[in-house]
């Protein structure tokens, strides 16, 4: 079997190096032949190897698992590695870096720094009574449904797409984002975590936290893991608003 010649596609990329004195933001168009099953990962690697070795972008797993490659594709934030060119009938894809994060260069943004500070802010870890558990002994029993419910929310890959989609984040630069609120919701279900609603209120009980969300729903619309973000945010808000 031979591979038929594919259509010509255009990948238009916003290039800019904020660390260069001469660089200005500008679009560069790359024209290339589409191959079967071509994703943006394959296309961008090809562009770097054959057309522009100076083009910066981030990929790690290229399988939609690590959350490195969020970018704005024809106006919508998405994971580039899971974006199939075949799904774009015009064959034209415009790529821009995700807003809300510090720009490193071209399509590369510093989500790591943002996520670390979010994790510290919401104390994104198990808080228990502080006693070392004896790991030679049988583990604590957890109801299978509760374990499943915790896993459901633990699936977030911190790709930053919810933050890049978020209207509240535009108005409130310090908004913790759906990702941060989801982390809290995750620990709230986990029986290993001993924090109370009051404790969570201390972390997110303000307009940069749970009371800032305007429920515009773009986070959930774009979440590549299809997390139940709005449900969980609404649940937390009801729970925390009842406290004061």
């Amino acid at each position: 079997m031979s591979i038929e010649k594919g259509r010509e596609i255009t990948i238009s990329v916003l290039k800019f190096n904020p660390r260069s004195k001469v660089s200005k933001p500008h679009f560069v168009d790359y024209k290339l032949e589409e191959t079967p099953g071509m994703t943006l990962f394959i296309a961008l690697m090809k562009i770097r190897e054959e057309y522009d070795p100076d083009l910066s972008f981030d990929f790690v797993c290229r399988a939609g698992i690590c959350g490195s490659c969020g970018m704005v594709i024809n106006g919508k934030p998405a994971l580039a590695c899971r974006t199939l060119i075949a799904n774009y009938p015009t064959g034209v894809l415009q790529l821009m870096p995700m807003p809300a994060f510090e720009l490193i260069k071209d399509l590369s943004v510093n989500t790591g720094k943002w996520m670390d500070s979010m994790s510290k802010r919401v104390e994104s870890w198990i808080v228990d009574n502080g006693e070392e558990k004896d790991i030679t002994k049988l583990e604590e029993r957890i109801d299978p449904d509760v374990a499943d419910a915790t896993f459901e929310l633990d699936r977030c890959i911190e790709c930053g797409i919810c933050v890049a989609s978020c209207g509240t984040k535009l108005m409130r630069p310090d908004f913790v984002g759906a990702v941060g609120l989801n982390r809290v919701a995750r620990f709230e279900v986990d029986p290993h975590d001993k924090r109370t609603a009051e404790d969570f209120y201390e972390l997110i009980g303000d307009d940069d936290g749970i009371f800032g969300c305007m429920s515009l729903l773009a986070c959930e619309d774009h979440c590549p893991k299809h997390l139940p973000l709005q449900n969980k945010i609404a649940y937390l808000r009801r729970k925390l608003v009842a406290l004061k």
């Binding site: 994703t39 290229r62 790591g112 049988l138 986990d190 290993h192």
Partner: protein, 661 residues
Amino acid sequence: MKINYCDALVIGGGLAGLRAAVAAQKKGLNTVVLSLVPVKRSHSAAAQGGMQASLGNSKMSDGDNEDMHFADTVKGSDWGCDQEVARMFVHTAPKAIRELAGWGVPWTRVREGSREAVINAKKTTITEDAERHGLIMSRDFGGTKKWRTCYTADATGHSMLFGVANQALKHDVDIRDRKEALSLIHENERCYGAIVRDLITGELEAYVAKGTCIATGGYGRVFKQTTNAVICEGIGAAIAIETGVATLGNMEAIQFHPTPIVPSGILLTEGCRGDGGILRDVDGHRFMPDYEPEKKELASRDVVSRRMIEHIRNGKGVPSPYGDHIWLDISILGREHIEKNLRDVQEICQIFNGIDPADEGKKGWAPVLPMQHYSMGGIRTKPTGESQKLNGLFVCGEASCWDMHGFNRLGGNSVSETVVAGMIVGNYFADYCIENDVVIGTKTVESFMNAQDKYIDEILAYKGDEDIFRIKNRMQNLMDEKVGIFRDGKGLTEAVNELEELLIKTKQINVKSKERIGNPELEEAYRVPRMLKIALCVAKGALERTESRGAHYREDYLKRDDANWLNRTLTSWANPSDTLPTVTYEELDIMTMEMPPAFRGYGAKGMIIENELSEKRQAIVDEVVERMQAEGKDRHEIQHELMPFDLPMNYRENNERVGDL
């Protein structure tokens, strides 16, 4: 010159590195982790199916213990592993998984009552006892006697990585991402840290530490077709061998996973077959029972991968524009099971291939083909995880040849190794950092820094007509074609020769942009020569090893040769100007083995050239076991008599199981 001082330096922020960092930080050391990428994006996140630990909680894992896990691991390794290390590992794995549960990893739990499962393509009912309800569940994986692989659906690595990374943040480990180590600082056979490049600013800086721990993962990307993330380029191993002091072990031991999806090479977890999925050929025929009547699809990965290629060579592959492939059928598990336990697999099939694997019949079959998956080889260490040659350099996880995998790793043992080695090696590493001081002059540090600075200038000044991307692609294709699943002397000789030429050509390139900041081609230009050194270690080791063992399969030497090749390959790079590695060997001592070499129980029979010591040692083992059992000794006492081992912390204590209570 910017010098950062710390007590403990960890290079690599995946599961192994982060767990080792937590160990060091908890012992009061100022610990820094350097990572190429935000740590939660490390390749550990891609581990899907699960983590082996002999908890023995569920019905199908009842009666499991360290002895069975040990035996499976040694057989899996084709007797190439260090049995003392394998013992250390299996004894700590149950503790690791329980620690992670406490850190919030939402392990799937045992549910009392009956459920349906598919075993050997037949629906079977399994009933769990009430007394086991809520304990950690496990699934079946290849090459294991019991269902031992604990999991969170098929996102196990992700859950573990987030659990451990957040624990590191909780303990205030100083994590710095987008930092790349370019060389190790060393003097008088001791390592003092690394010269590091900031991938955002392009700036070089030195990190000086009492001890250094490399946990940079494997080197899968020296191959073209690989399940590995794009960052798995073996740079940690390369900078270790470039010291001229540290050695690499068994670099030719490369695992090819049976079921990456075609053509993207994204992994479909072993859990697919563990949960009951089967392999089919062009006629829809389930062919594995024809080759492996006992273990079928669940023989070890090296065996299943070879059988698949063998079947394709017999004309039974499914033709496609990307060459022949095999079908993976999980539709027989039913939609409900797939949508709960194999959700990422379903998503990968849907997004990348437009297939819903839960669809019944042929429509739901996914095209798969064996591809590079895991690096058993790595920086050679002692059982403590310290380099055998370079003091103060510790290594853990896939980057190491510690060596619990020998010539083939069992599914579920790698993600398990990351955290277990992080605990064991991490604690030995921390103790080293407590006991030793930094005794190196800043002038020496400066000379290491200047060498890297000059090297980058030199690269930017190259004026040849070669292209670094073309060189890299050629290397990857060569490795696939000539150093792959089936190897022979002719192909390997050609590979070594051409890889050597490619290494020389890396100095004849021209980097188009001369910027030192944000220049991806410059990064390729300094990484590819290091990758080629790793590729040469793999190819040269494979060429010299004239036997077949585990995943290393020579069509011109089909037998496992215990008489001549029961050893570990060591490669080193004596001089920076060398274009080939130096190869030596480290013997394995049968007379200290708890389990002397024998048949694995799967794979072709009658393919072993015996070592006469195997029988002799087996007789001693049998005699000891018989005598001690008659004296009423328990299995722990007998094991200790046969092959004693040590562990740090309280890891040497016995593991409690629900069956003991």
